[in-house]
Symmetry: C2
Subunit: 102 residues, 2 copies
């Protein structure tokens, strides 16, 4: 990817509620991919319910627009009410990157 | 945490090899916590073997010193030979953060 670009680190602990969480999470990934400035996304959640999702964006404006997306705002509200015990959200500028493949 | 600070995003896909991976990973977390400038670490790996670990540091110098730590270098080498199919490493400056707790 061209530099500089931005990473949004979303770390979260799930509740035990289901309420279509998996469907909504997948919908949000699909929607994010269609946003201007979207560069990529990766996600892992362990068996305890703790997960980290990192999305990558080409500008702070793109992140702001995604945050303000109407369908995403509905998901954010449901997240606070139903799906997450706690989360942290960090917006970062990527300064260096390296890759390894065996 | 005081700002600005730095995040190291380590995304990896594990091999099927065990070779004391869990023990080494735990040792590296304990060792990282003792390093100057260490602020925190969080990690999630899903059942497919894909994982994201994010560590937080108060300066680029602290990250550089941790990268150069002798025991960590041994772990890095074993990681490339035994434990990871591929990984990416990104060093980022955290610009904004927010937290939610239900």
């Amino acid at each position: 990817m061209r530099q500089p670009y931005y990473a949004v680190i979303f770390s979260s602990e799930r509740t035990d509620e289901d309420n279509e969480y998996a469907e909504m999470a997948q919908q949000m990934v699909e929607l994010a991919k269609q946003q201007p400035g979207f560069l990529g996304i990766e996600s892992a959640r362990d068996a305890s319910g703790f997960g980290i999702t990192v999305s990558y964006w080409d500008s702070l404006e793109a992140i702001q627009q995604w945050k303000a997306n109407a369908a995403h705002k509905v998901a954010q509200e449901r997240g606070k009410k139903e799906w997450y015990r706690r989360f942290s959200l960090r917006i970062c500028q990527v300064e260096r990157e390296s890759f390894f493949e065996a």
